[in-house]
Symmetry: C2
Subunit: 366 residues, 2 copies
C-alpha cells in the first residue's frame, strides 16, 4: 500500500523518510513487519487499548519476533526509572543490536522510546509511529529524544534519528480534546514563526480543524513536517541557533510545566500560553504590532486552546527559565516573532520586560 504523502528528512547520518496518510494503521504495521525481523514495540496503556491489538496482529503476520512493552500513560513515565524498566525487558526479550525499537504512541512514548533506542547497546534502529497530533507534527521528526529529571524537563537525552516515521492522521480522531488541541498549538507555532501562508490557511480552516477532518490534517501535518525537516537539515544538533527557532513559546512553556508539575498543563497548552507571553514580549520590544498579537490570540482561541498565563508563581517561573537548557550563563533565550511567519532567537531580554509580558498575558487582555 502506497501512502498518500511522503517527504524526506536529511540528516548527518543519512535520510529519514516520513510517510503520511489517513486510516492506514494496518498498512503501517505491515510495512514495518516486512522490513524488521525482530522488534520491540513500546507503547502506553491508553494507546494499547485503542490500537495495539490491531497493530500487533498485522505486524506479526509478517514478523514473529516482536514483543510489546507497555508503559503507564502520562508525562511521569518520561523518566529514567521507566527507561531502566524498559532496558531490563529488552534484555529479557533478547533485543540485540540488529533489532528495532518501534515507538507507537504520543510524545512521551516517542521521546522515551527514542532515548532507549539511542542508548540500548550504544544505539539501535528506531521507527516512530506517532499517534498524537503533537507527536506527528513535532516530536517524532528530527531526532530529539529525552527524559525528565524530577526538577527539569528533557535535560537527559540524545539526538537519535529514526530510520522511518509513519503517520496516520485518522488517529487524531480518537484523541481526548486536550491532547488534540495541544497538538494544534504546535501547528499554530509553525505558522507564526516560519510560514505566514500556513497561518492564514489555518485561519481559513478552523471549522475543519475543529472537527478533525483527516484529509485536511494530512495537508497540515505534511506542511508542518516539511517546515521541521528544513530546519533540522540546517541545524541538526541545535548548535547554530536555527533549530532553536522551533522553541517559540517553549521557554515560558517549559517553565510553566516545571513549576506547576508535568501533566497539569499539557505541553501544547503550556506552549500556547508561552507563545502569547512571547508575542506580548515581542510587542513590548517593538518587534510585532497589536495586529499580530490579536491574530495569534484569535486563532488559538478559535481552536479552543488556552492562552492565559496562570496568575501566580511568576517569580518561580522566571527562576526556572534561568536553568532552561537553552539558557546561556543563566540568561534565558527567547524565540520572538518579527512579523507573521518570521521568528528570531533573542538574547539579553531584561527581567522587567519578561515579568511584564507574563503579567499582561495573565490579565485577560488581548
Amino acid at each position: 500500500m502506497q501512502p498518500q504523502s511522503k517527504l524526506v528528512v536529511e540528516h548527518s547520518a543519512g535520510e529519514c523518510p516520513i510517510y503520511i496518510d489517513s486510516g492506514w494503521l494496518p498498512g503501517i504495521a505491515d510495512a514495518i513487519g516486512r522490513s524488521t525481523p525482530r522488534c520491540a514495540v513500546i507503547t502506553d496503556a491508553n494507546v494499547e487499548k485503542l490500537y495495539a491489538a490491531e497493530f500487533f496482529q498485522s505486524l506479526n503476520q509478517q514478523s514473529s519476533q516482536c514483543v510489546l512493552l507497555t508503559i503507564a500513560p502520562g508525562e511521569s513515565s518520561k523518566s529514567l526509572d521507566t527507561a531502566i524498566d524498559l532496558y531490563q525487558q529488552l534484555l529479557s526479550a533478547g533485543i540485540d543490536r540488529q533489532s528495532t525499537i518501534v515507538a507507537l504512541g504520543g510524545g512521551v512514548v516517542g521521546d522515551l522510546a527514542g532515548f532507549v533506542a539511542a542508548t540500548w547497546q550504544r544505539g539501535i534502529r528506531l521507527i516512530q509511529v506517532p499517534t498524537s497530533l503533537l507527536a506527528q507534527v513535532d516530536s517524532s521528526v528530527g531526532g530529539k529524544t529525552g527524559v525528565n529529571l524530577p526538577s527539569a524537563k528533557n535535560v537527559v537525552g540524545a539526538f537519535w534519528q529514526p530510520q522511518e516515521v509513519y503517520i496516520d492522521t485518522k488517529l487524531a480522531g480518537t484523541l481526548p480534546d486536550v491532547e488534540y488541541t495541544s497538538g494544534l498549538a504546535e501547528v499554530v507555532k509553525y505558522g507564526a514563526i516560519l510560514d505566514d501562508h500556513l497561518f492564514a490557511s489555518l485561519e481559513s480552516r478552523v471549522e475543519q480543524l475543529n472537527r478533525r477532518d483527516p484529509q485536511v490534517l494530512v495537508d497540515i501535518v505534511l506542511r508542518c513536517c516539511q517546515l521541521k525537516a528544513s530546519v533540522v537539515k540546517r541545524d541538526e544538533r541545535e548548535t547554530t541557533g536555527q533549530r532553536a527557532i522551533l522553541n517559540y513559546g517553549h521557554t515560558f512553556g517549559h517553565a510553566i510545566e516545571s513549576v506547576f508539575g508535568y501533566g497539569k498543563y499539557p505541553h501544547g497548552h503550556a506552549v500556547s500560553i508561552g507563545m502569547m507571553a512571547a508575542a506580548r514580549l515581542a510587542q513590548a520590544m517593538g518587534r510585532v504590532d497589536e495586529d499580530f498579537v490579536e491574530r495569534q490570540c484569535n486563532l488559538l482561541t478559535a481552536l479552543q486552546i488556552p492562552t492565559r498565563f496562570p496568575a501566580e508563581r511568576h517569580a518561580e517561573v522566571i527562576e526556572v527559565m534561568k536553568h532552561d537548557k537553552k539558557a546561556i550563563d543563566g540568561h534565558p533565550r527567547f524565540v520572538l516573532p518579527r512579523g507573521m511567519g518570521h521568528g528570531e532567537l533573542v538574547e539579553g531580554v531584561s527581567p522587567d520586560k519578561i515579568a511584564d509580558a507574563m503579567q499582561r498575558s495573565a490579565g485577560g487582555s488581548k
Copy 2:
C-alpha cells in the same frame, strides 16, 4: 608546555587529538583550564585522594567555574543509579550545553562520565584524562561510553567521541598491581591481534614494563593508541566487524565478569583469561599453532597477569555469552587469532569447542 607525543583519531564528527607524555598532570590541567570556561570534573574517591587537589588547583588558576564530582571507586559505580546522581549534581551546578565534562580516572570513570556527557542536554563536550593504564590504551580512546545493568555489562551506552584525550603515563606508577597488570593485558591484546612487532617488543621489554618505566610506557601507550585509532577510523560504530577485532578475549572475559560479579576479576585479568581460552579455541580450529599459545601464555605470565580459567560455573559463562551484545541470534561471536598479529571475527563456533577451550584453560595446561 608541549607534550612529547601527539596523535589524532579521525571520526565521523571530526578529530580527537590524543596528547601523551610522562609527569605532566599540572600541564594537562593548565591546558584544559585555558580552553574550558566551565566544566565538571568527574573522578572517583581513590583518584581524588592522589591527584584531584593538584589537578584542580592548576585548573582553577585558569578557570574559576569548575566543580569536582566524586563517585565511589569500583565497577559498581558504573550504573544508572550513579548516572542519575551525577545528573542531579550537574543540574545544581548549572552545567549547561556550553560546558565540558572532564573524566579524570580509570575505565569506570571514563565510561560513566562519557555516558553522562553523551546524554546530558543531549550531549555536551567531553575531555578524557585517563589515569589507569587500561583506560590510557583502551577505553579513553574511540568514543565508547556506557553503564552496566545488574545482570549485563555495557548494555546501556552511547558512542560519544571526546574532544581531546590527555595521557600522563607516570600515573601508572601509583596504580595497585592488579590495576596495572589489568592494563598490560590489553597491551598484549593489541600485539596478539594487530601488531606482531609490538608483541615482540613487549617480550623484549618485560623488565622495564614490570618496573613501570614511564618512558617505555610513553612508547607503548602511543603505539596502542595508534592501533586503536586506525581501527576506530575504519569502523567507528562497530558496524562492519572491523572494530570488533578489539574484542579479542572479551566474549569470554565479559561473561566471566558477569557470572562472578563485576569487580571480582579486574577487567584486564578477565580479558587475559579470555585471550587464553580464545587462543586455545583458535588452536583447536587449526588457526594458530602451539607456539602462538605458548608465547601468549609466557608473555602474560612474565607480566604477572593471570591466565587460567576459573574451573567452575562453565555452563553459566556459556549462557551469558549468548546474551553478549555482539551475539547474533544468541550465537556468540569470537575474535580469534590467525597467526601472531592477525585477529579475525569468527561466527558459528560449536558449543562443544567453546566448552573444551574453557576446560583446557582451566586445567593449567599451556
